[in-house]
């Protein structure tokens, strides 16, 4: 699924630094996400994932460095970058007073590539009541609606910011089933930040791990596992890399 090294990366981050006052949240991070990759960005709470994603989505101007999405500067050309980017935020954020159908109608007018039938089918498949206001939906339903809206424009890049946070196990499963189905259908590039390492291990082919704002791991899942052959799962590797568990132990 990984394209050749010569292909332009979908996400290119160079020397990204984000500071909040004296605190450095993201410290000189550089990474590339090639087209078609599913990149799991991992890190403990406060490691800098959200700050990085905010810069990636053009919500925050980097204090240093540059972020480009699909060749567009994330801060200055956000509008162009978002034309082919779907986003599922940590907290679903559509207007609570509108129904999923109304939200889909609103979004459909913004994207020339919007697939109305696909969105309707996806909403039907996951069993979201079409006439209910978004604010009245359950947390899991909100996540699935957000995913449907994110996938509606047939994006080249999908950014999932801890999308299963707060979901129970069936909810996570449903969410990732939808995601995997999407990936197998279209080969969309995905940047996923999550604490759900088991699910991430099932879908990601590249892994980045942030520790105190620094990107200490940035490699393929295969290479990571090979380097930590003694550890059976991504979760164990993560704990070892972040210093919460000794690799020897």
């Amino acid at each position: 699924m990984i394209e050749s090294a010569n292909a332009a990366p979908v996400v290119a981050i160079d020397g990204l630094t984000v500071r909040y006052g004296r605190k450095t949240a993201v410290d000189d991070v550089s990474l590339r996400i090639p087209a078609g990759a599913v990149y799991a960005l991992l890190g403990r709470n406060g490691a800098g994932k959200s700050s990085l994603v905010h810069c990636l989505l053009g919500l925050r101007r980097p204090d240093a460095g540059r972020v480009t999405l699909l060749g567009h500067d994330a801060w200055r050309e956000r509008r162009h970058a978002m034309l082919h980017t779907g986003v599922v935020p940590e907290d679903p954020d559509p207007s609570p007073g509108l129904t999923p159908v109304e939200l889909a109608r609103f979004c459909s007018r913004l994207y020339p590539t919007w697939n109305t039938a696909d969105v309707a089918e996806r909403l039907r498949r996951v069993g979201v009541p079409a006439g209910l206001r978004f604010g009245s939906l359950s947390k899991g339903q909100k996540k699935l609606v957000s995913l449907a809206l994110a996938l509606g424009p047939m994006p080249k890049l999908l950014v999932l910011d801890d999308p299963t946070l707060g979901l129970d196990v069936p909810g996570r499963r449903t969410f990732f089933e939808e995601l995997v189905g999407e990936l197998s259908d279209r080969g969309t590039t995905v940047l996923l930040t999550t604490h759900d390492l088991v699910s991430a291990e099932g879908v990601a082919d590249r892994v980045g791990i942030l520790v105190d704002g620094r990107l200490v791991v940035d490699e393929t899942m295969e290479a990571l596992k090979a380097r930590h052959a003694a550890l059976p799962a991504l979760e164990e590797i993560f704990l070892a890399v972040t210093g919460q568990r000794s690799e020897v132990a």
Partner: protein
């Protein structure tokens, strides 16, 4: 941007469509006004229209605040703005769509509320604003933009709870103080309309400042509430500080008019010495009546607090011109304060006395020869104040007076005696002896309906009552009011202007022959001494008898009668009192000494500045009698 903004606005309207339904219900409420107890059936229509207007405006205010406060800031605080920023819509599109929807919804609600009552037969109007769409719509649109902008800014500030709130509070205080003090400064200078204009401009300028700040807040802060608040605060208070500084600077410049800034000036000279009081309008300062004391020799000027010139009391000088006093109404207050200045000192500065009047400015006042006492007439009460101590030295209630400014005179005869001349049906003189606190009075001849001129010689032993009516000019005994001699009357000898010369003789311009004017010189008892021809006249010719610009050289102005209030330049001539030789003064004008025919008489000493001062149109000039040329002192040399 536009497409995204429109789509967001449509989405916002759809989400808040209940507002329009509520407005529709509110729009029907006025039709229930006849059910209100106390509303007469005949006035049901008026009640309905009034109720519709109140509901429309009330709902407009409430909605603009509520929608403005929630359009962006609520979603920003609740982390829902990211939904819009995850779409291919520019930041300004998001800003315009959300806040535009708030404005649109509010306006739509106002229209919905007002329309049913308007259609049924009533007309909705704003007080003092008229009824057309432009007259109503613009203020309403402005108010909605202002309230939405204010509510949004305040909502962002309070929801962020960041330390930038401190900047907001400091900015608010500083900007309000600067702007309010600026507006007050202009208002206190009695330029009320300009103060209102500046205040209105400030409020109108607040609208773009708020909206620009909100645009920057969304564009730069995006989904970061604190960062957005910081951007908003810096942008807003920078703009408002510039605005407030501009207002403060403008107000300082406005009240700091200099003599050179006067485009229209009028003068009140001291009887002796170089000082004159100037007032007039200044360049670029509409509504300001600037007032100065000007030393015509050195050019030094002292700016006085702009006065309420409706008071009718000009600056009063002592006869030696060494001190002056004036009354000043404090803006926004009913108190009238008295200020004095010692012009003989090295650094003359106005000084407030402890004398003050409530509500009513004295109708007339005069300063004693020494400059230590002030006589005032309020209603029938004559009082003599000690300017230094602020106490009343003597007072009297006049048995008979006149409340018309032009028909009353108050003047010190000497330091201890004050006279009030009342030009009612008859001339009445009241005299108050300050030292003995005793008053006397006499009644003189009849006075006509028009405003007469009253002249007196030093010591008040002789008076001239120059009545434009049938009485003509008569010389009176100043101690009894008895007529000494008829100086002129209609027909045989029409007197157009007269007065006392410094040596006590009487100068009078008359028409001994129909169509020709002459300067008549009379003795202290009115006996003819000499007559000098002043040329032909026509029915519109008026002569203005000035004072001796140089010893023995009388300054006389001649003009055609014009509409009231106009000051024609006219011809100006110097007449040699010994030979009658007339010398024209280039440029013309009118002797200032001749102009106070309705005001207090302040005799100008020969060769004094007061005797040489000339008013030409809206400018004040000083005559050089040797060369018969004029030098501009103040005002603009243009015809009025």
């Amino acid at each position: 941007m536009m497409r995204g903004a429109i789509l967001i606005a449509m989405r916002e309207v759809r989400e808040r469509r209940a507002v329009l339904a509520a407005a529709l219900v509110a729009g029907l409420l006025p039709f229930a006004s006849p059910l209100i107890p106390g509303v007469a059936a005949a006035r049901a229509g008026e009640a309905r229209d009034a109720m519709a207007a109140i509901l429309a405006l009330g709902l407009g205010v409430i909605l603009s605040i509520l929608l403005g406060a929630t359009a962006v800031a609520r979603d920003l605080a609740e982390n829902r703005l990211g939904f819009d920023f995850a779409r291919p819509i520019g930041a300004l599109g998001i800003w315009a769509g959300r806040l535009g929807a708030a404005v649109g919804l509010t306006l739509a609600a106002i229209v919905i509320v007002a329309t049913p009552a308007s259609l049924i037969g009533g007309r909705i109007s704003l007080p003092d604003r008229g009824e057309t769409i432009g007259e109503i719509g613009l203020p309403v649109l402005g108010a909605v933009l202002l309230f939405v902008g204010l509510a949004h800014a305040a909502s962002v500030a309070f929801r962020s709870r960041s330390r930038w709130l401190a900047l907001d509070l400091v900015g608010l205080v500083v900007v309000l103080l600067l702007a309010a003090s600026g507006v007050k400064r202009i208002h206190d200078a009695f330029a009320v309309e300009t103060a209102w204009l500046v205040g209105t401009v400030a409020v109108v300028a607040l609208i773009p400042a708020l909206w620009i700040a909100s645009a920057l807040q969304v564009a730069r802060g995006r989904t970061d509430l604190v960062r957005g608040h910081r951007t908003q605060s810096i942008a807003l208070w920078s703009m408002l500080l510039v605005l407030a500084l501009a207002i403060a600077g403008f107000s300082l410049w406005f009240v700091a008019a200099d003599v050179d800034d006067l485009v229209a000036a009028w003068a009140e000279p001291a009887p002796a010495g170089p000082w004159i009081a100037l007032d007039g309008t200044a360049r670029g300062r509409p509504g300001l009546e600037a007032q100065f004391l000007l030393d015509t020799e050195s050019g030094r000027s002292i700016r006085l607090a702009p006065g309420d010139l409706t008071s009718g009391n000009a600056t009063m000088f002592t006869r030696d011109g060494r001190s002056a006093v004036w009354m000043h109404r404090m803006a926004g207050s009913n108190t009238i304060e008295v200020e004095v200045i010692d012009l003989a000192g090295p650094d003359p500065r106005p000084r407030m006395t402890s004398i003050a009047f409530d509500l009513l400015m004295p109708i007339r006042a005069d300063l004693s020869p020494s400059g230590t006492r002030l006589a005032t007439l309020q209603g029938r009460s004559l009082a003599v104040h000690d300017l230094e101590a602020g106490r009343i030295l003597a007072a009297a209630t006049l048995a008979e007076t006149d409340q018309t400014w032009g028909r009353v005179r108050v003047t010190f005869v000497d330091e201890n005696r004050v006279r009030v001349y009342v030009l009612g049906e008859r001339l009445i003189a009241h005299e108050l002896d300050v030292e003995h606190r005793a008053s006397t009075s006499w009644t003189g001849p009849e006075v006509g309906e028009a405003y007469p001129a009253l002249h007196w010689r030093a010591g008040h032993d002789r008076l001239i009552l120059a009545d434009p009516g049938p009485t003509g000019a008569v010389l009176l005994d100043g101690s009894s009011g008895a007529t000494i001699r008829q100086l002129g009357a209609l027909g045989a000898q029409s007197v157009t202007s007269c007065g006392f010369l410094d040596d006590g003789r009487i100068a009078m311009v008359a028409e001994p022959v129909w169509g020709r004017a002459a300067l008549e010189l009379l003795s202290t008892d009115g006996a003819p001494l000499a007559s000098f021809d002043l040329g032909t006249t026509d029915p519109s010719t008026t002569f203005w008898l000035g004072a001796e610009a140089a010893p023995g050289m009388l300054l006389i102005g001649r003009s055609s009668r014009t509409e009231p209030g106009e000051l024609p330049a006219g011809r100006l001539m110097l007449v040699d009192l010994s030979t009658g030789m007339v010398r024209e003064v280039e440029g013309g004008g009118r002797p200032v000494a001749a102009m106070s025919w309705i005001d207090q008489q302040r005799p100008a000493q020969p060769a004094s500045v007061a005797a040489r001062l000339v008013q030409r149109a809206r400018s004040v000039w000083l005559l050089d009698p040797a060369s018969a040329t004029l030098r501009l002192l103040a005002g603009r040399d243009e015809p009025s």
